[in-house]
Structures are given as C-alpha cells and as structure tokens.
C-alpha cells in the first residue's frame, strides 16, 4: 500500500486497474476493491476516470462508493482493528470489551489514533459467533477475546 502517490500517478494507476477489469460482468465493485487495495482508500480523483471508462456518470460511481461501508474516502492508520459489535459478541461481553479498547486507544469507532497507528472500526459479524467476542486486526482473526487479550492486541498495534 502506497500512501504517498501523486494525483497523476493515481490517475494512471486507476486507468490501469480499470482497463484490466472493465471486461468483467458488473466490474464496478471489483474495481473499487482493487483501487482500495492499491491506495488504501478510494481517492476522489479516481471516480471520474472510472465513470468515463465504464460509461457511467460520476454521480453513479459516487453513489456506489458512498453506499458501501468498506470503501473509505481517506487513508486509515497503519493498522485497522475491527471489533465485532453484533449480538453473539454482545452476549459474551462485547460491549464492555469495546469500551475497554476505546479507552486503551483513546479513540472512538471510525477514528484513528493521533499517531496514525490504528484505526478502530465496528464490524457487524465476522462469522466467529462461536468464538465470541471476536475481532479482526489487519485481516487476521481473533476470538474468545478478554480484557488481557485486547490489551495484547493494542500493544501489538502500538508497537
């Protein structure tokens, strides 16, 4: 993930990605995923390029990007910690755990620590309901979390 790319590069990379994927059936979501994988977020300047190449309006692409919670319009911290907030995790003390993580990091959901180390995001079910409470750190899953376990996770991302 390269967070320091110029506008021009974003344009060229976007065009590469779109050109490579536009022949898919219904290519918009795969393209946006690829763009987010490339830049860490979906830069605004990609949208008109995608729109033009896919024969869509800018408005449509904007509508799609803002509909899906996965697509971010700005970069995240170096780590992304997703805490499950759904019922199965609630039944195992997920809410208290979330409060603890928030206070350990000093941020609320959808925020990034000032040092840019970690972004905290809620997630509604990771399919780990039999290992609740669960979390995902940078794509790696963690289950049966307790106060100690989250302390370790926080220490890991803070390192």
């Amino acid at each position: 993930m390269n967070l320091h790319v110029s506008s021009r590069d974003i344009g060229e990379r976007t065009l590469d990605i779109v050109s490579g994927m536009k022949s898919l059936e219904g290519p918009l979501l795969p393209i946006l995923h690829e763009i987010q994988a490339e830049f860490g977020y979906v830069p605004q300047e990609c949208l008109p390029i995608i729109a033009r190449e896919l024969n869509l309006s800018r408005a449509e692409v904007h509508g799609v990007v803002t509909f899906y919670h996965d697509y971010r319009d700005h970069p995240t911290g170096r780590h992304v910690l997703k805490l499950c907030r759904a019922e199965a995790c609630q039944s195992m003390g997920g809410d208290q755990l979330a409060e603890r993580v928030k206070s350990l990091l000093g941020i609320d959901f959808h925020q990034t620590t000032l040092d840019g180390a970690v972004t905290l995001e809620p997630v509604y079910c990771l399919g780990l309901c039999s290992a609740a409470p669960a979390a995902m750190l940078d794509g790696e899953v963690h289950g049966r979390l307790d106060a100690d376990a989250v302390k370790d996770l926080v220490a890991e991302v803070r390192a």
């Binding site: 008109p48 033009r52 869509l56 904007h62 509508g63």
Partner: protein, 775 residues
C-alpha cells in the same frame, strides 16, 4: 434520481450514503451547477415543489391557469403547459400528452423563456434615414406607411424585382405563409427565401429527388422500434436534447449506435451509452464515407433485394450498385481521404445492414457542405438499399434546427416553390393562388438570399423585409452579408431585439414572442402543433398582424381576424394540408402532414406502401472534394456546431440565465495542435481563414481529432461566420459552414475587426431620447 436516468438519460443524480444518512446528491456531492446536470427539469417535474422548486414559483407564487402551447426553440417541437399567474408566466411545464416530447423537456424550452421580458426587447417601431443615424421611435402607422412608401418607391425606381422578403423559421406557419404571400402578391415577384436555405435546403432537394417528399420519413416515436441507428452530422444531446433522451432510452434497451462525426460527441460515449462504431471523418468527406458504407453493403451482398425489387427501380439500383462497387469507394481507399479506419467503415456497414430495423438521423453536419444534397441522397440510397423505409423503427430523419424550419419550407418560402413544394412554373398551382389572391404570380423563380445580397452589391436589389432572421450573424461570410445590406436603401427588420442585421436596418418593426400569438409550428417529424397565445403581445401586435398591416399599407385587401383563417386558406390551397384546421388540431392534439382525405389521421410514417414519387430512386453520388482545402497557410479544418444551453445565434438564450453554462464561444482544439502552436487551455487565440479572422478563447480537448478545430456560433462578439467561406451546396446554395480551412495562433485579445464591429454595433443601436440600448 430516476427521472434523470429513465427520462433524461443523464444519470447526474444519485443517492449518496445509505440508510438514514442517504441523501439525494448531484454528481459527486457537487452543487447542481457543477454537476453533470443538464438542467432538463425532469427531476423538478418529478418532484413538484417540495425539494426542487423553480425559482420563478418562489418569486411569483403558484400558477392559477395554464395554456398548452409549443416550444419555439428547436425542431423537436415539444408541447408545454405555460402556467400563468394573471399575465405573468410562472413556469413552462412539459406536457405529458405532447406527442413529440411525451412529457420531457430541455433546459431551453423548460426554463429559457426570460428573453420575452428582457429589458433589451424593442416594443416600439423605429425608423431612421441612414444606418449611421440613431433610431427614432414612431407610431405603428408611421412605420408601416413609411415602409410601404419606401418599397413602392424602390420598385418604381429600380424595378419590380428590386425588393424581396425573408420568412422566418422562428415564426408560425401562418406568419410565414403571409410573408411569402406579401412578396408574391404584394411585391409581385418571387424574391422570398428563408433560413432553411442555410440549413436544410439540401434535405428538401435530396429527399425530394429520391423519395418524392422533402421531409423526414418518421415520427419520433419510431425510435422506440429501432435496432440500429446511424447518427451522421448531428449532435442530438446538444441540438435536439429531448429526442436524444428518447434515443438514449432505446439504446439503453439494447439498440446499437453508429456515429459518423468528426467530433467525439456525447453520443459516442456517455453514461450508459457507447457507440458500436464511431467514424471520425475529416470534415467534408461525408459523401465518400456514406458511399463507402454502400460499397460494403453492395459488394458483400447485404442489400435487401426483395425490398429494392418491390419498391425501387431495379435497373437504377443496378446502375447505382455498379457505381458504389467501384474500387475507389472501398473503405480502404476512402480511409485515405476521410481518415476513417477501413475496418470501422466495414463494421458499421455490416451492423447497419444486418442489425434489424435501421434508422438514420442526420443534421446540419450533412447539409451544410458543398455536397450537402449529395450526402442526403447517399443517405437515402443507403436506407433504400437496406430496405429501411416505410415502417416504424427505420427511415431517414433530418433533425431540423429551428422550431418551424419544416413549416417555413412547407409554406412556400423558397423563390422557386409555392406552398406544398410546388414549383412556381407549374401553371395549375399558380392558378389556385392567382384565383384566390386575385393577382398574377410570376412563373420565374426569384432570388435566393445569397443572390439577393449579390444583387444588392451590384446595385439592382434595394429593399428587403426580414421577419425574424438575423442573416448577418447566421449567414456565412459576414463581410459579404454586411456589404449587401449596406448597399440597400430600405432594410426592414422585424424582430424582438436589435439584432446584428438591424445594424444595417432603416426600419425596425418590433416582433412578438411565441407566447404572444396563436398559430402552428411544424416540427422535424412533420407534426403540426398548435401555438397558443398565453399573454398579450407586449409590442402591440402578433407578427402575423404586423405583416397584414404592412400588406394593407401597401394597398392589399387583407382581413384575417385570426390565424385559423390563414390555416384554412393554407388547407384550401395545399393538398398535403387539406384536412388541417384549428378545430381538427384541437380534436387530434396534433397531426403529421400529409393530412388529407387519403390520410385523415395524418402520416406518422411516410412511404409505407410505396414511395411518394412512385419508385424510390437510386442516384449516383460521386464524391467531389470541396474547393476549401487545407494548405500551409490554413492547415486546420474548422467545423461548427451548437451547445445545449444556447440556441443558434443566441439572441434569445443569451438573454436568459442560460449564459451560466456558456458565456462565450470557445475554440475546441486537440492537445497536439495546441501544443504545436503554443496554445494553452483558456488562452486567447486568433482564428484565421481566407475570409477573415476573429479571436476567441481555446478549449483543449480530445473530442476533436488532430487537424480539426470546432466552435459554436452563439455569440455575436465571436462572429464565427466571419471565418466561414462563401462556398455552398451545388444544388441549393446551402452554405458550407462545416468546412473551413483555418489557422490558429496565440493572441492577446479581440481582433481589430471585433473592436470595430463592437463600436459600429453600439453606434447603430442608439435610440433618440433613450440611453444607449446596446448592452
């Protein structure tokens, strides 16, 4: 927003976010003006005054009565409900029962009516001795008496043929009819012409020669049944936006599209629209490219033999087929002169010939060439060869520019034709009118506009009555037009504003707007739509009344009390209008001519069981390159066109808020050509041709191919027609606006010519006792 998608086809609105946070958004969270919104009003329509509100409703209040009428902008002829509060127009609402627009509208018809109350509108008649004098306001009586006296004097002094008239394709059928009647019955000659001369005269000639009628073959509904569309030399999203929306809807349903145009217009690629083939030909090579399409169809055996044998003359077809099959018409040869890749030509030809119902829509990019009539015939050949005539979804369809250009042609506005396209040399036709009017009509064709101007420069043509036309701005080779006008002794301009032509006028008769009169317009699909008076003429008279009063002043005994009586006279004298009357239109909503005993319900589709002329005629279309050629001095080709928000010479739209979208004409130039010349985006450039030069600002874009530049002609300060040449169509004199060899160079600002012109215009617009009327 769905209206934007389904009706307009622009997709400028979306919902952003989701759930409770979701919100309607224009573009990418932009404001409406910066978004892709084309201001067609469909969303405002779908959402009557809760979220989207016309500012006029906020200012004036809710309307309390309404009148259904017809838009006076382009040839689509949209029906609108003019919603009124007293004498004040609150808003124009597209009428869902309108048979041309089916409830849709564009930014011009929907919103750009403010010119009718613009402060620059002239409401009192004015005269002056010399064009260097300031104007003097006079009474209607004085103005008309003066005009009549001048015309009689000129005819006495210089001969019967020294005066003439120009009818307006902006005015109603009835008004047009009266002007040609005034010329023929009052002036006693056939010196009448119309702006169709400069736009679609080749359509009349070409379709008349091949099919037997001088008009498009389909109604707009036909597009809903088409499978393959060729658009050639037209830019419907800008020029005919409501039709474009209907076409785009069909394309989204799966119909295929072929675009033949030097520019990459929006139809080539825009949201949910992608042309299967774009043939970006060099301006001036239409005939070669269309003939080459025919070459592929003939040599690959893709023609419709059954149709041709039934409906056309087989031996004429064979002759034509042999002609188009000649090797020099092959795509590979044509590629060399048109620049269109041979494979694109082949692909397009195969698609058109084999893709189901094929229709062709074309515009001024076809007609305004030295071979305009030839291209029209080549298009007609193509339609006949593929059997695409005489049913819904097919046909040859000129997209006509002005609201009533079809009607003005129908009404006998040409020097050689009486109403209904009947030649003045035809004794039987003349007899009908001579008996009714009690005069003798000359059997010699009169002068066309360019001939009138030539004659004026030569000293034999001295007076002209121009209703609702700005020939100085709209006709080619401005310097020649101004020289002709300046040489006349009595130029009478009847218009809403002191237009550019009025700078050379001696009499100014204030005109009325379409909101102020009754009448009919005939749109591009031959549909006769009612225009209904929604307010009293601010200038005192509807245009037909002005013409009648002038006729009376000249001693003619005219006593129409309502335009319906004029239509009755048209119906009585013109077979294709035989059944048309205001009562009948009231009953039917509208009808498409021919509307007579044979076709009492009108004729949505022409040539259904056979061509009007009998057998469809295949005509050889040899490509002859225009004399306008690029060379070292003028290496680029200039072509011209329109933009959505402005209309024609801009007299109306420039006097509305539409200027926010298009404040000035810009020169579109390809990045390569710009770089070579040191031209930057937005910088001033000088545009030169053999005819003249002007300056304007550059817009660097890949919409134009290298070697081609493009501009609009909406603003008089640019005067693009200073650049265009006096070459014209071999058959009809339609000027060759679309091809001019030019050079482009960086510039500091307006040229001396523009500075001088501005000063002259300012001088000539002075009105005694008033502050300068010029803007």
């Amino acid at each position: 927003m769905r209206a934007c998608e389904e009706v307009q086809g622009t997709f400028a609105l979306t919902i952003e976010g989701r759930g409770f946070d979701s919100r309607v958004s224009a573009g990418m969270h932009e404001n409406f003006l910066e978004s892709e919104c084309v201001s067609c009003g469909a969303c405002v329509q779908a959402c009557p005054i809760t979220t989207l509100t016309e500012k006029s409703v906020i200012e004036i209040g809710q309307p309390e009565h309404s009148v259904v009428t017809t838009c006076a902008y382009c040839g689509v002829g949209c029906s609108f409900k003019a919603e009124m509060r007293g004498e004040e127009l609150v808003r124009m609402v597209p009428w869902k029962d309108g048979q041309a627009n089916r409830g849709h509208s564009c930014v011009k018809g929907r919103f750009a009516y403010g010119y009718s109350t613009h402060k620059e509108r002239i409401l009192n008649p004015m005269i002056r001795e010399k064009i260097s004098d300031p104007w003097r306001e006079v009474s209607w009586e004085e103005a008309l008496a003066h005009t009549a006296a001048e015309f009689r004097r000129l005819q006495y002094q210089y001969g019967r043929d020294a005066v003439g008239g120009i009818t307006s394709s902006r005015c109603t059928n009835e008004e047009t009819y009266l002007v040609q009647k005034l010329v023929r019955a009052g002036f006693g000659n056939n010196n009448v012409d119309t702006c169709a001369r400069v736009c679609h005269s080749p359509t009349g000639y070409g379709l008349g020669a091949t099919f037997g009628t001088s008009a498009g073959t389909q109604n707009f509904d036909s597009v809903e049944h088409t499978d393959v569309v060729i658009i050639i030399g037209a830019n419907p999203t800008d020029g005919h936006p409501v039709f474009a929306s209907r076409l785009k809807k069909r394309l989204r349903q799966g119909a295929k599209l072929i675009v033949v145009d030097p520019r990459r217009i929006d139809m080539v690629s825009s949201p949910h629209i992608k042309a299967s083939h774009h043939l970006p030909l060099r301006p001036g090579t239409n005939v070669a490219v269309v003939t080459s399409l025919a070459h592929v169809i003939v040599t690959e055996g893709l023609y419709d033999e059954k149709f041709i044998r039934e409906r056309c003359d087989w031996s004429e077809f064979e002759d034509w087929a042999a002609f188009v099959a000649e090797p020099h018409h092959s795509p590979e040869e044509v590629e060399k002169l048109s620049g269109v890749p041979a494979e694109e030509i082949r692909g397009a030809a195969r698609l058109f010939a084999t893709g189901g119902n094929g229709s062709i829509y074309y515009g001024l990019g076809v007609t305004e060439h030295s071979q305009g009539s030839t291209t029209v015939m080549a298009i007609a050949n193509l339609a006949m060869a593929t059997g695409n005539i005489g049913r819904p979804g097919v046909g040859v369809n000129p997209l006509r520019g002005q609201n009533n250009v079809q009607g003005s042609c129908d009404m006998g506005s040409f020097p050689h034709e009486l109403p209904g396209y009947r030649h003045v040399s035809d004794d039987a036709t003349r007899d009908i009118f001579e008996k009714l009017w009690g005069v003798t009509i000359s059997n010699e064709p009169g002068l066309r506009i360019p001939n009138m101007l030539d004659a004026a420069v030569d000293g034999s043509f001295k007076g002209i009555y121009i209703q609702g036309e700005d020939i100085l701005q709209s006709d080619p080779d401005t310097k020649h037009v101004s020289a002709g006008l300046a040489a006349m002794e009595c130029v009478v301009v009847q218009d809403l504003f002191l237009n550019e032509t009025a700078n050379y006028a001696h009499v100014f008769l204030p005109g009325s707007t379409f909101l102020e009169k009754d009448g009919t317009f005939t749109n591009a699909e031959r549909r006769i739509n009612r225009v209904r008076k929604v307010m009293t003429p601010r200038n005192g008279y509807a245009d037909w009344e002005v013409t009648q009063n002038l006729a009376k002043a000249m001693g003619l005994d005219w006593n129409y009390t309502h335009p319906s009586q004029i239509m009755d006279e048209i119906a009585a004298t013109t077979p294709s209008f035989a059944m048309v009357s205001y009562d009948y239109l009231e009953k039917m909503g509208s009808v498409q001519w021919p509307c007579n005993e044979k076709a009492p319900l009108g004729s949505p589709i022409m040539h259904v069981n056979g061509f009007v002329r009998g057998k469809g005629k295949f005509i050889r279309t040899e490509y002859v390159a225009t004399d306008e050629k690029t060379g070292p001095r003028f290496p680029l080709l200039l072509t011209t066109g329109r933009i959505l928000s402005q209309y024609n010479v801009g007299a109306q739209t420039r006097r509305t808020d539409n200027v926010v979208w298009h404040e000035e004409d810009r020169l579109e130039i390809h990045p390569n050509d710009a770089e070579m010349r040191g031209v930057h985006d937005g910088s001033w450039v000088k545009l030169m041709s053999r005819s003249g030069d002007t300056t304007l600002r550059a817009l660097i874009t890949e919409r134009v191919a290298p070697g081609v530049v493009y501009t609009t002609f909406h603003h008089p300060t640019t005067q693009a027609n200073v650049i265009t040449t006096d070459f014209s169509d071999w058959a009809t004199n339609c000027p060759e606006y679309k091809v001019t060899a030019v050079q482009v160079s960086p510039s500091n600002g307006p040229s001396q010519w523009q500075v001088d012109y501005d000063e002259q215009a300012r001088q000539s617009r002075r009105i005694t006792g008033k502050m300068e009327a010029a803007e």
